[in-house]
């Protein structure tokens, strides 16, 4: 990113500004007027629903009526004693941590590869970015076909290579199904993380790396002792976004397994959908979704810290 221009006009522009006191020259007022509609839209249609989500979780609201009765902690008590919810909470953590661990490894490797030049790089870059651009639900339906119990091309290939003797029911067995979800989430996020890490990599001053090479540091030494530490802020940004995208995603699990077999692969968003929308129990659905909040809060705080940290580093 280019260095930021100062938000205030430079001093040389000020006399022209001050000379005329008409409405058309009052920058702050104009700024407020231009900002207000967007701000109002977001506050009304994201801010208020956000508060309503929390309020609903303490209510006995259902989809059928517009009634809104206080239910205290009853929804929370109900879901906390529900093994399906506890499983969904655990699955959300497993899927998020598992896929993001994969993302870090894949994105670091891919960034190292794509900083080098090689024939066909443009095509390779386009293909690499496909998973990020494709709509989640369409990617998920393609993976469902890839993991199909009868026609799975993965099973065929493993068998043909002599690596598989039994049969893998990818989406029919809880552990394998979760693994499938982790693979798809990592596949979907790592291209995005790669591009971000790559942007960070190009911003490392060449002199530092050259100096290290002159001093006799090899590839791995440079990678682990210089590049990865310097890339930490930018990799964190990628992982924070990846965490939000994965933990709050409904599409992959909904299309791939529908939460099955026997409710064993639900994550918080799919369970909230099942209880809140399909089951019409808005209160309980909201309570389930509210468990995403601590995660979002942590991510937001880390994000702000990173932004401030890098600000300080520059000025």
């Amino acid at each position: 990113m280019t260095r930021r221009e100062p938000a205030d006009p430079p001093a040389s522009a000020q006399p022209a500004l001050l000379a005329r006191g008409t409405l058309a020259d009052r920058g702050e007022l104009l700024g407020g007027l231009m900002l207000a509609p967007a701000l109002a839209y977001v506050a009304l249609l994201a801010g208020i629903p956000f508060l309503l989500a929390i309020a609903l979780s303490f209510s006995d609201a259902t989809a059928g009526s517009l009634r809104f009765g206080w239910a205290g902690l009853r929804n929370y008590a109900a879901i906390l004693s529900d093994p399906v919810f506890r499983r969904a909470l655990w699955n959300t953590i497993v899927v998020t941590v598992g896929s993001q661990a994969l993302v870090i490894v894949l994105a670091t490797a891919a960034a190292q590869v794509f900083r080098a030049s090689f024939p066909g790089k443009r095509v390779a870059r386009f293909v690499l970015l496909l998973p990020w651009a494709v709509p989640v639900s369409l990617a998920a339906i393609a993976w469902e076909w890839i993991f199909d119990s009868t026609f799975s091309v993965i099973n065929w290939t493993l068998k043909a290579a002599g690596l598989l003797h039994g049969w893998l029911y990818w989406l029919g067995e809880p552990t394998l199904a979760l693994l499938a979800v982790i693979i798809v989430q990592a596949w979907r996020i790592f291209p995005f993380a790669t591009v971000i890490v790559l942007a960070g990599l190009t911003s490392i001053p060449r002199e530092i790396l050259e100096a290290a090479t002159v001093d006799g540091a090899g590839f791995w030494r440079r990678l682990f002792q210089i590049e990865l530490p310097l890339l930490l802020p930018v990799t964190s940004v990628a992982v924070l976004f990846g965490t939000v995208y994965t933990a709050t995603d409904l599409g992959v699990v909904y299309v791939l397994t529908g939460g099955g077999p026997a409710n064993s692969t639900h994550v918080l968003p799919t369970l909230a959908f099942q209880r809140g929308i399909l089951g019409a129990d808005l209160g309980q659905g909201a309570a389930i979704a509210v468990f995403l909040l601590p995660l979002l809060l942590v991510v937001a705080i880390l994000m702000l810290r990173l932004a401030r940290h890098t600000e300080v580093g520059v000025r």
């Binding site: 430079p10 496909l130 709509p135 990617a139």
Partner: protein, 287 residues
């Protein structure tokens, strides 16, 4: 051969192998869509336990049957039209609201602009999966169940925060000189905004259009929650939900639909990638 050249050769080989492996992992589902979309059914539905039948290639001549079924035997063309219509309205709303807001944060808002900008950006992190339940109440209050109105109302909450941030970042990379000169020449602040800025900000608007387009094309949660009639669905909802007839999966048509929908988005997205990445990193990467 010296040790050194051997090392270099080995390094080169590792690079190619890693590039090939990563690209293959990323691209494999798309190859699979392509193969599936054009295979004849008797080539497609051979169990994976039959090792003599290689599923990776066409064992029989390719066919257009699945594409024909998709275009003439399903609601797919409708879904495309529905999606484009919703996209158009959402883009109009987003440009009208996010472009002035982004400009204001970059040029007019002064000190509190930075903070407000970050606050708006953070609302981008509030996920649809947290909001679809309160929205379902709002949508039934407004009587918008099963109508595009619900999506048109809600999608700008996804696009405005990021696009405002996008425009702000863009305007900060545009030198202040031109606007400054116009003001020295006697233009008022308002006149600068109305007469000078529109020309400067066009590339920023273009990236807003592209981002809003891809975001709406990709959205699944709200569409799933609010649209129940098949003929009103968007592409990303209709294909995985309504193209499955009962328990019968028409995999050829499904994969054709996934392919023709995702490739155009990918192409458009690629063109604007650098600007999006700049915005995502929130300035954590300084060139």
């Amino acid at each position: 051969m010296t040790r050194r050249t051997l090392r270099r050769l080995l390094g080169r080989a590792t690079l190619y192998a890693a590039a090939a492996a990563l690209t293959a992992f990323a691209g494999f589902p798309f190859y699979w869509m392509l193969v599936t979309a054009f295979k004849q059914n008797r080539d497609l539905y051979v169990g994976a336990s039959d090792l003599r039948h290689v599923p990776w290639v066409f064992n029989q001549s390719p066919t257009l049957d699945h594409v024909r079924l998709l275009l003439h035997g399903t609601e797919f063309p409708h879904w495309i039209l529905n999606t484009l219509l919703i996209v158009a309205v959402v883009i109009a709303v987003t440009v009208a609201l996010a472009v002035p807001a982004g400009y204001s944060l970059a040029r007019l808002a002064g000190r509190w602009g930075e903070r407000l900008g970050i606050a708006i950006f953070l609302t981008y992190l509030i996920p649809p999966t947290l909001l679809f339940i309160p929205f379902s109440r709002l949508v039934s209050l407004l009587g918008l169940q099963n109508s595009w109105g619900s999506l048109i109302l809600i999608y700008p909450t996804l696009t405005i925060p990021f696009c405002t941030w996008l425009v702000m970042g863009f305007m900060r990379s545009v030198p202040w000189d031109i606007e400054e000169q116009a003001m020295i020449d006697g233009y008022s602040r308002l006149a600068v905004i109305l007469k000078v800025v529109p020309r400067l900000i066009v590339p920023g608007i273009l990236s807003v259009v592209v981002f809003a387009f891809t975001l709406v094309m990709q959205e699944f949660v709200y569409a799933l929650t609010f649209i129940s009639s098949v003929e009103k669905m968007t592409v990303s909802l209709g294909v995985p939900i309504a193209l499955v007839r009962g328990d019968v999966y028409h995999w050829g048509a499904l994969m054709a639909a996934a392919l023709v929908t995702s490739v155009p988005i990918a192409i458009v997205y690629n063109l604007f990638l650098d600007r999006f990445i700049e915005s995502f990193t929130m300035g954590a990467v300084k060139g």
